[in-house]
Amino acid sequence: MEAVSWIVLIVDATLRVSTPLILAAFAGLFAERSGVVDIGLEGKMLGAAFAAAAAAFATGSPWLGLLAGIGASVALAMIHAFACVTHNGNQVVSGMALNILAAGLGPVLALAWFGHGGQTPMVADTARFRPIHFPFADRLSDTPFLGQIYSEIVSGHNLIVYVALGMVPLAAWLVYRTRFGLRLRAVGEAPEAVDTAGISVAGMRYRAMAVCGVLCGVAGASLSIAQNALFVRDMTAGMGYLALAALIFGKWRPAPTLFACFLFAFADAVQARLQGVDIPGVGVVPVQAIQAIPYLLTVLLLAGFVGRASAPGASGLPYVKER
């Protein structure tokens, strides 16, 4: 029985941690499949987390908070597109600039508007996305196994967790089964072919960055007004980079990317549970070793030691129309 509840708790934590990861990784998927490298996922999430918490605190509405988060993130995504698509700027430099800009801007505005140091005040429960309890979840929580799974894993998450999970098949359908998706993938692999077909390469990339912005916005909001109740300095703590790692580990494809997000989140959940636990025959595993696993795996994958990852053909390359 002990083991079952342990597993249930781990799965529960994995779902919670993976939500912003999934959203950000799929944001990156749209950007990179269109040929725009985006290491600015971190900054967009951070900006969105601040805007969402600030707006939710000011208006008392989680929905306006979410909207503000999406707005901030899309604005940053549009700057990225303006620099990289319109002006053929270096995509990595631009992403880095936005990460640093967002890391500074959040605390500056938080201090000026709320006077709480570099963070927002606590957001009231009514202004947050609270856990949703499914019917009978409470009554079934004592029922062994199925009841526990239902009440702990299926029920009791905030809305954004379900939205993120629902977004995955939608995104996969959009990328692989629609005209938009075909053009998106084409513009990332062979922009000159798309251009020849009379479709605007810049237009497609701007649209992809807009989708990327929206998803990063939801990811940021999930941190500050769903999982937590305020914005604090650097609250993304490298999650945007981890999402990028998951995207690469997933070889820029939806299902493997989802799996990678779960894997990384699982490593995080296990790491939190294993702190100071003495495993028979192994001893105490350093927490940092487990925390390092996702980064190590990504390096090994990129080095071709764990399968081969190949980026979209035109990723990172500005498209200059022939004249």
């Binding site: 990595v92 631009s94 880095m96 890391a103 201090l111 980079y241």
Partner: protein, 372 residues
């Protein structure tokens, strides 16, 4: 990556003087708008910032101390740029450099300073170089993208350091994760102590003799990049890899060399921080200096003179920014981080927005003058 430091026909003072200044002015203007938005007076903030940076001897000392770090990380980013690589791993390489410096100082602190300090400097450079070389090797031999690998190596460095400090190197009985203080043989003298011995009073600051090391690195960087065969190979690969191969240069070797040198330079931040200031190993002493190096290299156009000026500028911003927070409680050093992001945006990502236009104008004029 021909955009970085690529050849242009415009006069040098336009490319290396006017354009960076315009980009800086734009970044300052946008930052000024932010300051105005939060209800403070931008010109007053700028005045206080300048005063806090160079207004009194201690302030100048701190400005130079920050600039020391930025010279190291700026040069680190620049050497990689010369090879067409973007090294975002300065932060992790600086962290490892500090570890190397600290381990050497712990081991050899009892030795006389003329022996202990060079050992600590060499260890810092070696550890940093290793942390840069591995991503370089992975890029050169296995084709792993350097940007992603160096990002991952930043996190790996952080995990490694946290584990080492919390579990291994912590001084027994300490609450915080810090090693024991080094024996005095491994303390790099503070500038104020040296100057006091010479009869000059400059007030106490964190400025130490690492600053001289930074100046030496600037000179050596110039020699290495423009006056040695290795530097030539690195630049050749950065400009045109295929042409370099045709010229008998091995791009893999150039990439690994550039990344090792880059990591070594970033690692020297550890000398300034660990051997120069803290005199013990601790966590998170890199404080984002590795990322500032990106802005410094972009503003300084990958040239030592430009990097020195940009490092001094950012040193002044860091020092002035922390003093500014006393006078304007609403404007903290985070404002400097905003400015740093804007500088990278304007002089890096948006460099094509104005540069081509400005340089084009001057290039035409120069041609016209020559023709006449």
């Amino acid at each position: 990556m021909s955009g970085f430091g690529g050849p242009t026909r415009a006069p040098a003072w336009v490319t290396h003087g006017l354009v960076p200044l315009i980009n800086l002015a734009l970044a300052l203007a946008v930052a000024g708008v932010v300051v105005a938005l939060i209800g403070e007076d931008p010109s007053e903030a700028l005045r206080l910032l300048a005063l806090g940076a160079v207004g009194h001897p201690e302030a100048i000392g701190y400005t130079l101390y920050y600039a020391t770090n930025f010279v190291f990380t700026g040069l680190a980013v620049a050497i990689a740029f010369h090879c067409g690589l973007f090294n975002i791993g300065g932060e992790g390489q600086a962290y490892l450099g500090g570890l190397g410096a600290g381990l050497a100082a712990l081991a050899f602190g009892d030795w006389p300073a003329p022996a202990a300090i060079p050992l600590a400097v060499a260890a810092a450079a070696a550890f940093g170089a290793f942390w840069g070389f591995v991503p370089g090797w992975l890029q050169a031999k296995r084709g792993s993208h350097i940007v992603i690998t160096t990002i991952m190596f930043n996190f790996l460095a952080a995990a490694l350091m946290t584990w080492l400090m919390v579990e291994v190197l912590i001084e027994p009985g300490r609450q915080t994760a810090e090693s024991r203080t080094f024996a005095p043989g491994a303390w790099l003298p503070f500038a104020h102590d040296v100057l006091a011995a010479l009869g000059v009073d400059m007030g106490r600051s964190s400025l130490n003799l690492s600053f001289l090391l930074a100046l030496a690195c600037l000179g050596l960087f110039w020699l290495f990049v423009w006056r040695t065969r290795w530097g030539y190979e690195i630049r050749a690969v950065g400009h045109n890899e295929e042409a370099a191969v045709y010229g008998g240069i091995s791009p893999a070797r150039a990439i690994m060399l550039a990344m090792a040198v880059s990591g070594g330079l970033a690692g020297l931040v550890g000398v300034n921080e660990i051997v120069g200031v803290h005199h013990r190993l601790l966590l998170e002493f890199t404080a984002g200096y590795g990322f500032v190096g990106i802005a410094v290299a972009l503003m300084g156009r990958n040239h030592p003179v430009g990097i020195l000026l940009a490092a001094l500028l950012f040193g002044a911003l860091y020092q002035g920014g922390s003093e500014l927070a006393f006078d304007m409680p609403n404007v903290t050093r985070d404002m400097v981080v905003v400015l740093q992001g804007l500088v990278i945006l304007f002089s890096g990502a948006l460099e094509n927005m104005f540069r081509a236009r400005i340089e084009g104008r001057f290039a035409r004029r120069a041609r016209a003058v020559r023709a006449a």
